[in-house]
């Protein structure tokens, strides 16, 4: 339990975007393992990374494969888990496998490759797909920590989270995170910087202060929040993306169409508001003059009523853009 205390003391939160306190998750798995002692426990490292503007996991796997494997090893040992899986996109499997295999050695770590996409950032969807069913979210409770893969206690953490677990256990954690910068800037890329920097400071430190009139999308390139320059005086939340848009060159309806197309392709079809709402939003955006009032009503319904975070989160960027830009 020593390592869990360390993780708790470091106040590490999940870096997949949901920012759930990592130590809580680990404790829940440890507890479930005690209650279901006759069942194995599983560790899953989520490396699907499906949202536009988010590309830090690939960066971490490329430059720090040893750290990630070390993080998974710590989880395996700490939680007495039987096996760990690294869930990757099918197209990335060979590259990632080649890089990680030298570090895996005899550890019980396997790869699982599928085209889960964005929705598999949602951990129960990922589990459904790993069990060979349609990739759709499960009802919670029960939570994956107690009833995860094949009904066994399961820990699902993001690549970046495992990277920092390794750092924390080695007492090397300096409260940093990975920022993905892209868009209308000179110096795009992935940067590891302190967690408490404001977004303005991140832009400054990475030599990325835009010259044009701009607005930002932060957290993710589809579901991320829209910020105006005077709203950047606060730290970044969510999945670590900072995307800069040139106001003059960005047509809001086009940008919305891009997001909605992405959500439309990612949606699983399970719940009515998301499945139908995205269809109607997409149809409306095809029109020269969309009915913004009706779109707003659909978005509000989707935010309140959708089954999982995909449908709930469409509201944030869309309303941000409608109201601010």
């Amino acid at each position: 339990m020593r390592n869990i205390s360390k993780i708790a003391a470091a106040r590490l939160t999940g870096r997949g975007g949901a920012e759930f306190p990592t130590a809580f998750k680990w404790l829940a798995v440890a507890k479930a393992k005690l209650e279901k002692f006759d069942r194995p426990a599983y560790i899953i490292c989520n490396a699907t990374e499906g949202e536009p503007g988010v590309f830090k996991d690939k960066h971490i796997l490329r430059y720090f494969p040893g750290e990630v494997i070390n993080g998974i090893r710590i989880a395996l040992e700490e939680l007495g888990a039987e096996k760990a899986y690294i869930y990757v996109q099918r197209k990335d499997l060979n590259t990632i496998k080649k890089r990680l295999t030298p570090f895996i050695k005899k550890l019980p770590i396997r790869f699982f490759a599928e085209d889960g996409g964005y929705l598999c950032g949602e951990e129960t969807t990922l589990l459904e797909q790993m069990e060979g069913r349609r990739p759709e979210p499960r009802l919670r409770p029960p939570f994956p920590t107690e009833h995860g893969l094949h009904g066994c206690p399961t820990l699902v953490n993001n690549v970046e989270t495992f990277y920092y677990i390794s750092q924390i256990v080695k007492d090397e954690y300096r409260h940093t995170r990975f920022y993905c910068l892209s868009g209308a800037i000179r110096n795009p890329g992935v940067f590891e910087l302190p967690i408490d920097l404001t977004i303005a400071e991140v832009l400054k430190k990475t030599k990325n202060i835009p010259r044009c009139k701009f607005f930002l999308q932060v957290g993710g390139g589809a579901a991320g929040e829209i910020l105006l320059p005077d709203e950047t005086n606060r730290p970044l939340k969510g999945a670590g993306a900072i995307i800069v848009y040139d106001r003059a060159k960005t047509k809001p309806q086009e940008l919305m169409t891009r997001w909605i197309e992405f959500f439309f392709k990612s949606n699983c079809g399970k719940c009515a508001p998301c499945r139908e709402g995205l269809y109607r939003l997409r149809e409306e955006l095809k029109k020269a003059k969309p009915d913004w009032l009706m779109m707003r009503a659909i978005l509000e319904t989707m935010r309140d009523a959708s089954f999982c975070a995909l449908g709930k989160s469409v509201y944030t960027p869309m309303l941000g853009l409608l109201e601010k830009v």
Binding site: R134, L139, F264, K265, S266, N267, C268, G269, K270, C271, A272, P273, R275, E276, G277, L278, Y279, R280, M294, A297, I298, E300, T301, D304, A305, S306, F307, K312
Partner: protein
């Protein structure tokens, strides 16, 4: 005992039991929280998102169907935000549902229309997006994707996993499986569990015109028979309370429509019982082909034929009552009345979609004729009565026509799971002990709504001694194919576990049949069944073999073994997978057939 506690719903203090959902607690307390994808017979999936409620202390709205009630919880079922969400959600759902209300199994009593009124939803805010989707036809079932709201109740209830979700995202659709291991058994549970009326049986809404044409033909004698459970469920769409026994009014209504003769299928059930008890006793005594499986449920027969052909030999060769009555009408009765069997047209009113298929099986033919020419469901008859303004609630009760008009109590039980078994045991008792059963509750273990009911019955001759020549019958009455699989698995382990097994594919037996009126749930099925047992209790003759009509026909007509075999018995065999037709929607799909 599980824990009880109080919570507050809409300002009202209500009691709840640990493990109950908010939706259930609200329902038990008379608070209707809108829901479409929830059905008490199914698992909770929380797909439709109509049952959103606000819980004090929770930031986001929660679905009442999937959230457990907790001690001290404060729930609000309607507020302005919830109202708006339900209104727009319902409008989105209407956008995937082509409204064909005049030809819908819900008969305009569906929840979509109910909630539309409550939440002021515009049915046509969004143009129907699924008009180009396929309509699938397989066996007697018609699945119309242009009406499907993707709630997946049908996928959940389908006993053979034949209905599947295909596609992703907004393109998902429910479709029949192409998998050769799976086939439809025509039970129609998908029909009665669909909140949107997307599924119906073949020929619904065409039957009235066909019958009216037929009645115009001077040379035809159009005979109708009605299944046991019709008498306690036909009232549902006629404004009568659930479980009303309306036998006499039903007969009167059928005559008013114009049928020339009205027979009661329950009388034929008495013949089935008499034959089946005989056959079962023969098998049990000889130990051959045990256990004996009942054959009354065509979906069960089809399930065995397709999935477990090794058990086909175990299915009793005795025909289902409906077919027997058709056979008797076109032989014995035709002779008696001096009619040409070719001019007798037999219509049966069944709580069942599968009977439409059974009536057309070539194995059912007797002397080259189909015993039953047309099968209509409970729903179809209700619709005919409504169209013709035949208000059976206001009609004087009339007796059905003799010689097939007065059943024993046992014959009526066929509409309930365990009823065939109980009827057969009552008669088997006589066969094995030489005495008539006196305690009519002796076999009550096979009654009730449980999915599997097991009983071991010891019968001795003479009864009183409890010694001497005794036979033990290990019996099981099963409803639901999922439960039947359990029994079949048990038999694989221990082939001698049962001697006599009754299986009905639908929950609670025919009372919960796929041809019955909507809605349906456990409470409604119970009321339909309770009425049948009440009829049995009130009957003077409660043993099938004591029905005077049965005795007379056996004495007068069945003087040769060949005649008996010809009318009462048939055979079954392995069948290929049902052909699936996929077609586009036409104008005719939305209109009543003229």
């Amino acid at each position: 005992m599980s824990k009880r506690f109080d919570l507050i719903i809409d300002g009202k203090k209500v009691g709840a039991e640990e493990g109950e959902t908010i939706l259930k607690v609200a329902w038990l307390n008379g608070i209707d929280i809108p829901h479409l994808c929830f059905h008490p017979d199914n698992t909770v999936r929380a797909n439709c998102r109509m049952c959103l409620v606000a819980i004090k202390g929770e930031r986001a709205l929660q679905t009442a169907c999937s959230t457990l009630a907790e001690d001290g919880m404060e729930v609000t079922t309607v507020n302005p935000a919830i109202k708006r969400d339900r209104k727009f959600n319902l409008e989105l759902i209407f956008g995937e549902h082509v409204e064909d209300c005049p030809v819908c199994v819900w008969n305009s009593r569906c929840d979509l229309l109910k909630y539309r009124k409550q939440y002021n939803s515009k049915m046509l805010r969004f143009p129907d997006r699924k008009t180009k989707r396929p309509i699938y036809e397989f066996g007697p079932i018609v699945f119309d994707q242009t009406k499907c709201i993707d709630c997946r109740n049908c996928v959940d209830i389908c006993p053979t996993e034949y209905l599947e979700v295909e596609g992703v995202g907004s393109d998902i659709g429910i479709a029949p499986s192409m998998d050769r291991k799976k086939d439809c058994i025509y039970c129609g549970q998908c029909v009665v569990h669909c909140p949107a009326g997307a599924i119906k049986s073949q020929g619904e809404y065409g039957s009235q015109a066909a019958l009216e044409n037929l009645l115009k033909q001077k040379d035809k004698t159009v005979v109708v028979q009605f299944a046991p459970v019709i008498r306690s469920s036909i009232g549902e769409e006629m404004g009568l309370p659930y479980g009303t026994i309306a036998t006499g009014q039903l007969v009167a209504g059928l005559r008013k429509f114009g049928f020339h003769k009205v027979f009661d299928t329950s009388v034929a059930a008495d013949f089935t019982t008499t034959e089946e008890a005989g056959e079962a006793v023969k098998h049990i005594m000889s130990g051959k082909n045990l256990p004996v499986f009942t054959s009354c449920c065509p979906s069960w027969v089809r399930f065995i034929e397709y999935n477990y052909p090794e058990y086909i030999k175990n299915i009793t060769s005795v025909r289902a009552p409906e077919i027997i009555l058709g056979g008797l009408a076109k032989t014995y009765w035709a002779e008696k009345e001096g009619l040409d069997p070719k001019n007798i047209f037999m219509v049966s009113v069944m709580p069942c979609t599968s009977k439409k298929f059974e009536a057309q099986r070539v194995e059912m033919k007797i002397n080259g004729l189909y015993p039953v020419d047309m099968v209509i469901t409970t729903r179809e008859l209700a619709r005919i009565f409504l169209n013709k303004k035949i208000k059976i609630a206001n009609l004087e009760a009339e007796a059905a026509d003799m010689p097939f008009g007065d059943p024993s109590g046992a014959g009526v039980l066929y509409g309930a799971s365990g009823g065939v078994m109980e009827s057969a045991l009552r008669t088997a008792y006589f066969r094995l002990t030489g005495e008539d059963l006196k305690d009519m509750d002796l076999f009550k273990e096979v009654r009730g709504q449980a999915g599997i009911k097991r009983a071991t019955i010891k019968l001795c001759q003479p009864v009183k001694t409890g010694r001497g020549e005794c036979v033990e019958i290990k019996a099981a009455a099963v409803n639901g194919i999922k439960n039947a699989r359990i029994i079949l698995d048990e038999l694989k382990q221990d082939p001698k576990k049962y001697d006599f097994v009754e299986v009905m594919a639908c929950p609670s037996g025919c009372a919960g049949g796929g041809g019955q009126s909507l809605p349906v749930n456990e409470q409604i099925r119970k009321k339909r069944i309770d009425a049948l047992y009440a009829i049995d209790r009130g009957k003077k003759i409660r043993l099938a073999h004591r029905n005077p009509e049965v005795i007379e026909v056996y004495e007068k007509y069945f003087n040769t073994e060949e005649k008996r075999k010809n009318i009462f018995h048939t055979g079954f065999g392995q069948k290929p997978k049902t052909k699936i037709i996929s077609r586009k929607r036409t104008k005719a799909d939305g209109a009543l057939h003229e």
